[in-house]
């Protein structure tokens, strides 16, 4: 029915307009800005401004140096944790509450709290000194370590809950079947759970990496935003919102988006190569 089709289209109209105006158009606009100067003439100047300045180019490396370890640590920690929690555990509600807490409160509050808690006179250093592990307070804020720690505290629970969502979706009968066929715990993990979990892990890694790669408040508040933790977001913000040069700002944002896209594509293709057979989660 012709009429029917029109009506179906009407259902989607609001969100199509929404997507077009608020998401696709700004992207295209940013793309356009990045290739033009303030007079609206086409130019590569904006990209050159970024790539010619070693101080700016270094932000790429700095961002990787922060985002990659933070993501890897979060995911590698989250894998055993979520594996242990896959069938539900005692006190799960309370535990999940504490896990969701830093995710919900957001990076700003966590960073503000970490500044005091992990500062030289904070509880953490007091405690470590009291039990005799350290003599001098550890420097955990206003440096690289602070940013990575801040990211992990925010991203680890996020990764954990996400991985938990995937692994608990794997039919528990598969484990039982494998067990009856003679497999021990490690064998089940390697041959049954892990292969079925890989798509989820790849997805969790990608999302966490992208989140960490665009880190802003954590890098500013917990790090040294004018030096060792000057990440790409800071550079973008600096050009766009402090110098009010949206052209260069957009150009750097485009570079940032491109890098994120490349990393996602690499992870996804690795996943494809690792396990060709199944990407289907076993639900019957």
């Amino acid at each position: 029915m012709k009429e029917e089709k029109h009506i179906i289209f009407l259902f989607f109209l609001p969100s199509i307009i929404f997507l077009a105006v608020l998401f696709i158009y700004p992207f295209l606009y940013g793309f356009y800005l990045s290739f033009t100067n303030e007079e609206g003439e086409w130019t590569l100047e904006n990209y050159l401004t970024f790539f010619k300045d070693p101080w700016e180019v270094r932000t790429i490396w700095t961002t990787f140096k922060i985002a990659l370890p933070a993501t890897l640590i979060s995911i590698l920690l989250a894998i055993p944790f979520s594996y242990y929690m896959r069938h539900g555990i005692k006190g799960e509600r309370l535990i999940s509450f504490f896990l969701i807490l830093p995710v919900t409160l957001g990076t700003v509050l966590v960073a503000e709290g970490m500044l005091s808690y992990m500062g030289p006179a904070g509880w953490l250093n007091q405690f470590l000194k009291a039990i005799g592990i350290i003599k001098e307070p550890l420097r955990l804020t206003h440096n690289y370590t602070g940013v990575v720690l801040g990211l992990i505290i925010h991203n680890f629970p996020y990764a954990l809950l996400m991985l938990l969502g995937y692994v608990s979706g794997i039919d528990p009968n598969l484990e039982k079947a494998a067990q009856i066929l003679g497999a021990d715990g490690w064998y089940i993990f390697r041959k049954v759970i892990f292969p079925l979990w890989v798509p989820g892990i790849a997805m969790a890694f990608s999302l966490n990496f992208v989140m960490a790669f665009s880190v802003y408040p954590t890098a500013v508040l917990l790090g040294q935003p004018s030096g060792p933790t000057r990440v790409m977001s800071i550079s973008v913000f600096h050009w766009a919102m402090e110098k009010f040069n949206f052209n260069v700002g957009s150009a750097i944002a485009m570079v940032m988006g491109l890098i994120e896209l490349i990393v996602i594509l690499v992870v996804m293709s690795l996943r494809q190569r690792m396990f060709k057979g199944g990407s289907m989660v076993g639900k019957a």
Binding site: K176, I180, A183, G277, M280
Partner: protein
């Protein structure tokens, strides 16, 4: 006997694999108890399964059938009780042999095939853990595929298979391990009606060939009757009756089993007269029935029954005869006539309080709804139960 070759000889005769299957006589389950929280799902469960026997656990959903299988498999720890293979205790509630060492097989209701592995690797999964040689694995998988008639499916993935094919792969994965005991948890319930009957037939054929001791769980009485050597009827975690299909079908030991086995006419009644040891007259609201039954289940109980004591009586629809009989003649008014091909199912009213279901063959052709029909019930076909539901006669 040639026909009764057992599984491992069948699978091994051509590849000369060393006999690894433990020989055993029977698996004994003693006083098994299991609770989930406050909910006791198994009460003092006792069962022996002999080598080569096909036993079915039959009961409505939630009666503890699946839990029994999972306890036997070692997937769920038992609270108390013992499980023996001959005289060797494999689980006593404190320490149990882990599932992977019991040598039992389990076919899951949803098949639980590994979605990321090919049919070959699914079936070979357990053999690879045993570290058999590549050739031996190949040989065994081929044989198992042949048994379930899926030759040539090695390289397919579970998602490419139909429900029935997945079912067969699951069975192949189980039998290839040459288990002492094969457990099947409602294996046919996810298939459509036609396929279910086909697969039932194949399961039976397979069992005739391999003679693996099997415990089969179902809620479908037809399946249980068709497949089993013995049936265990369960309700609320308690065994109601154990016996061969004929016995369960014809001589239910209580009202629940009778109801489950198709005694659709269950009426409350009162004792009118106890004529002899095996002849009783009862009063069902408004009419009398004479029961004369050869098997007396509870003679003591019967002797102590007083006149007027409340009881229950049960009759199968197909045992009710149309026409005029020597005893137990009844007149009823038919309400509904359902044509079912060979037979007709008639729902009728004897009086305002008592409904009767009967099945007729050709004799029912003339019966119309709203017509008056004469029926009679042979005294030997009526069962008598105590008020608590225990079989008396």
């Amino acid at each position: 006997m040639e026909i009764q070759r057992d599984l491992h000889t069948f699978l091994n005769e051509r590849n000369g694999v060393v006999d690894t299957v433990k020989d055993f006589k029977e698996i004994k389950i003693k006083d098994l108890n299991k609770s989930f929280g406050a909910n006791q799902v198994l009460h003092d469960f006792n069962l022996n399964v002999e080598k080569g026997e096909f036993v079915t656990l039959l009961g409505p959903s939630g009666c503890g059938k699946s839990t029994t299988l999972h306890c036997l498999a070692g997937l769920v720890p038992i609270d108390s009780g013992e499980i023996y293979i001959d005289n060797e205790c494999i689980d006593d509630g404190t320490k149990g042999i882990p599932p992977e060492k019991r040598g039992f097989g389990l076919v899951f209701q949803n098949y639980a095939l590994f979605p990321h592995l090919s049919v070959f690797n699914n079936i070979a999964f357990g053999l690879q853990i045993k570290r058999l040689s590549k050739n031996a694995i190949k040989e065994k998988v081929q044989n198992a595929l042949k048994m379930v008639r899926l030759e040539g499916y090695e390289d397919k993935y579970p998602r490419q298979l139909s429900g029935g094919e997945q079912q067969r792969v699951a069975i192949a994965r189980c039998i290839v391990m040459e288990p002492m005991l094969m457990m099947l948890d409602e294996p046919l319930s996810n298939l459509d009606a036609k396929l279910r009957i086909e697969m039932r037939y194949e399961l039976k054929t397979l069992h005739e060939k391999l003679h693996i001791a099997s415990i089969y769980v179902t809620h479908d009485q037809q399946e249980a009757l068709a497949l089993s050597d013995r049936i265990v009827v369960m309700k609320d975690g308690k065994i109601q009756q154990i016996g061969p299909p004929e016995e369960i079908y014809c001589q239910p030991s209580n009202l629940f089993v009778a109801d489950f086995m198709g005694f659709r006419n269950i009426w409350p009644a009162n004792i009118k007269e106890i004529s002899s040891e095996n002849e009783v007259v009862i009063n069902v609201s408004g009419f009398e029935l004479t029961i004369k039954n050869g098997s007396i289940k509870k003679a003591d109980y019967l002797n102590n029954l007083e006149i007027g004591a409340p009881v229950f009586t049960a009759v199968r629809p197909e045992d009710i005869q149309v026409g005029n009989g020597p005893v137990n003649s009844l007149r009823c008014k038919s309400e509904v006539v359902e044509y079912l091909g060979e037979i007709r199912h008639i729902g009728a009213l004897i009086n305002e309080d008592v409904r009767i279901d009967l099945r007729t063959g050709e004799a029912g052709e003339e019966i119309k709804s709203d017509g008056i029909i004469e029926v009679w019930i042979p005294p030997g076909k009526i069962l008598l139960f105590s008020q608590e539901g225990d079989r008396i006669l």
